[in-house]
């Protein structure tokens, strides 16, 4: 089962800092999560980067990126500083 780590606000909404999922792809996993929150709250999440094992899904197979048992999927927002 893949591990999903939501961004901070989403984690608060879900009441959990991580979730397990048996979804086969990133797209399927996000569908599962989206079903747990109201649409207006989900909208903010669309700007988050989706990372699988640290890699942006843009450089993998996008929403079709397959997920394996130990994969970690993170949702994070742009940041900077130093």
């Amino acid at each position: 089962m893949a591990l999903f780590v939501p961004h901070y606000a989403l984690a608060k909404r879900l009441g959990r800092t991580e979730l397990r999922s048996e979804a086969a792809t990133v797209g399927a996993l996000l569908d599962e999560i989206r079903a747990l929150v109201p649409p207006e709250e989900w909208r903010a999440s669309l700007r988050a980067a989706i990372l699988v094992n640290g890699r942006h899904i843009h450089y993998l197979q996008g929403m079709k990126t397959p997920l394996a048992a130990d994969d970690e999927v993170w949702m994070v927002f742009p940041s900077s500083g130093g």
Partner: protein, 623 residues
């Protein structure tokens, strides 16, 4: 045209004498101020091979051409000398009020040489300098030292670590820190506890056009997602979740790229659970500093680097504990990045049986004691105080000693941002992230120029380093440059066609576009930096001239390092970061060699990393 000269105060601690030293306008025009002028003065005023602790070694404090103007993020100063940590050029930047106060005292900088026979502090007031007895301050922390000095003055002070010449000792001004490269140790070697400044000189003549520009840029920074929202609301700790998700936050001495508990250190949690108020430098609309609740009351909220190196890296996941360790380092006068790096390395040495110590991941008491001992060079601290590189020489483990040119690495593991790895390897002051912050464009920002590709990275790193050299010679805070990316980039939905298009374009076009841009004499003013400089100088400065100044400064620093015996072979990364993968499917770490060859070519250096005569001519560098 306005005057382009800069006036430094020169002080000889051995003789006690002082005098004003004007810097000619042709030098100012080439090197701008701050970092650039500091580098030129250091290069010209020291013989090759001078030891950082030789009494002839100058320590140079410089402000910029906009200091005192109240231009946003311009009230900072730079300290330049030779680093006892690296043997390379040292320059360290700091906020607080000291820069403006020094300018009000009548100077654009201070050059301190010699060694006082007893502890002193330097008071600069309305054009006059006086050395005062500091026996009562010696041994005191930076907080008590500042409290004991006259309140109205701007201050730059050291703690016990500087007095004890710890090579990563810092200089503190209010609660802002000139952290990196050990400038505090050079100050300590001179028996100079503090410099304080105040005065009533006019600092900057602001006409209506300037005020308009100031207003416009302030409003822009306030409205930009990065400088108007993310940094102000979360501080630099906004980076924690992103770096964890990106698998690039140091974990157990860079053995891994994140920990399951990393989210406990999120900036969002600090905001929701601990924040009392925002804090920051004079005339900065961003205010990225934090003031938070601590167990003992309240204090400084940790910066991302402190969280990364003294927290996550050491297996400490309690924000208040990390804050307290950070405050301890600040008070003792030590860089939290290097201290965290040394402790991480020493812990792994201990784990492998190469060092006998109490250090273990997450063992807060042991780390607390080790920090105290390092500043005082007592017990285990005597070894830790020599830094990671020296510790590896003595105890072994060079392949996992996480330092470049002797400077411990900050909190971005370059195995997840190859350009940042190239930047670490080539930075003139060693393993540092704020000489270009390439990771922002690869991994942490809204666009992500493929972090695991080498394409275009040499061009990107050169561009970023040159831009940074110019910006930090003004002396603007480099965080402003995060607003260079247009606001719409932050609004793109990460799975949208527009985002995919932007990413593809950025990944393919960055290298060639920057290559071209760096060769053009672009007269346009695209950023606010050139506009402010134009206002200060009273003549138009275009982006091309500004970037060429950055390249000149960067190359001069390189020449200094070469002169001091640091060759191209120092442009490398620790073996762990080159060889050990942290990403599933990867066979190694950062593919540095290919990027480095191209980087030298883009810079106009030969295959040994030496600037060619043609490059020096093109940039009008006198060596």
């Amino acid at each position: 045209m306005k005057s382009l000269t800069a006036t430094y105060l020169e002080v000889d601690l051995t003789s006690g004498g002082s005098s004003a030293r004007p810097v000619p306008s042709e030098v100012v025009e080439l090197y701008l101020g701050g970092r650039g002028l500091g580098a030129r003065l250091l290069f010209d005023s020291t013989p090759p091979g001078l030891d950082p602790f030789d009494e002839r070694m100058p320590i140079i404090f410089s402000v910029g051409p906009l200091t005192g103007s109240a231009a946003p993020q311009s009230n900072r100063f730079v300290v330049t000398t030779k680093s006892p940590a690296t043997g390379a050029i040292a320059d360290s930047h700091c906020g607080g009020s000291f820069a403006t106060k020094l300018k009000k005292a009548g100077f654009d900088g201070v050059i301190v040489r010699g060694r006082s026979p007893r502890p002193v502090y330097l008071e600069i007031k309305d054009g006059k300098a006086e050395l005062k007895d500091a026996a009562h301050l010696w041994g005191k922390g930076t907080v008590a030292t500042q409290a004991a000095l006259p309140a109205s003055f701007g201050k730059a002070v050291i703690g016990p670590a500087g007095e004890n010449r710890v090579p990563f000792a810092c200089i503190v001004s209010q609660n802002r820190i000139a952290g990196r490269t050990g400038t505090g140790a050079v100050m300590g070697s001179k028996n100079l506890k503090a410099i304080i400044a105040d005065g009533s000189a006019a600092t900057f003549e602001r006409d209506e056009a300037f005020k308009e520009l100031q207003k416009e840029v302030t409003e822009f920074l306030r409205s930009h997602p990065m400088t108007g929202q993310i940094l102000p609301t979360l501080g630099t700790a906004n980076l924690v979740m992103t770096c964890a998700g990106r698998n690039i936050i140091p974990t157990r001495n860079f053995q891994k790229g994140h920990d399951r508990r990393t989210p406990e250190l999120a900036g969002e949690r600090m905001r929701d659970e601990l924040l009392i108020r925002k804090d920051g430098c004079l005339s900065c609309p961003v205010k990225c500093g934090r003031h938070i609740r601590l167990g003992k009351g309240e204090g400084k909220g940790p910066e991302f680097e402190t969280i990364g190196l003294l927290g996550n890296n050491l297996g400490i996941f309690d924000m208040q504990t990390v804050a307290e360790l950070g405050e301890l380092c600040d008070d003792l006068g030590m860089d939290t990045i290097s201290m965290g790096g040394v402790l991480g390395f020493a812990t792994e040495l201990t784990e492998r049986g190469l060092l006998n110590s109490e250090l273990a991941w997450g063992r807060v008491e042991a780390y607390h004691e080790a920090i105290e001992a390092t500043a005082r060079r007592s017990g285990l601290g005597a070894e830790l105080a020599e830094g990671t590189r020296a510790l590896a020489k003595r105890r072994g483990g060079e392949e996992f000693a996480i330092q470049v040119k002797g400077l411990e690495l900050p909190a971005y593991d370059p195995r997840g941002c190859f350009g940042q790895g190239l930047e670490y390897a080539t930075n003139n002051r060693g393993g540092c992230h704020v000489r270009g912050s390439t990771m922002f464009l690869e991994a942490t920002g809204p666009v992500s120029i493929d972090p695991h590709s080498t394409a275009g990275k040499p061009e990107l790193v050169v561009f970023q380093q040159d831009m940074n050299a110019a910006v930090s010679s003004l002396v603007f805070c480099y965080f402003a440059s995060y607003a260079v990316l247009p606001a719409f980039a932050f609004k793109l939905e990460a799975s949208s066609a527009a985002y995919r298009l932007a990413m593809a374009a950025a990944s393919r076009a960055t290298g060639p576009a920057l290559w071209l841009a760096m060769r053009m004499k672009n007269p346009a003013q695209l950023l606010w930096f050139e506009k402010f400089l134009s206002a200060a100088w009273g003549r138009r400065v275009g982006l091309g001239e500004f970037m060429r100044a950055g390249a000149r400064i960067y190359n001069l620093e390189r020449l200094y390092n070469l002169r001091e015996g640091m060759s191209g072979s120092a442009d490398t990364l620790p073996r762990r970061l080159l060889d050990e993968p942290t990403f599933p499917g990867a066979k190694a770490g950062v593919p540095l060699a290919d990027m480095l060859r191209r980087y030298y070519r883009v810079r106009g250096w030969d295959s040994e990393g030496v600037p060619t005569p043609a490059t020096l001519r093109r940039l009008a560098i006198r060596s």
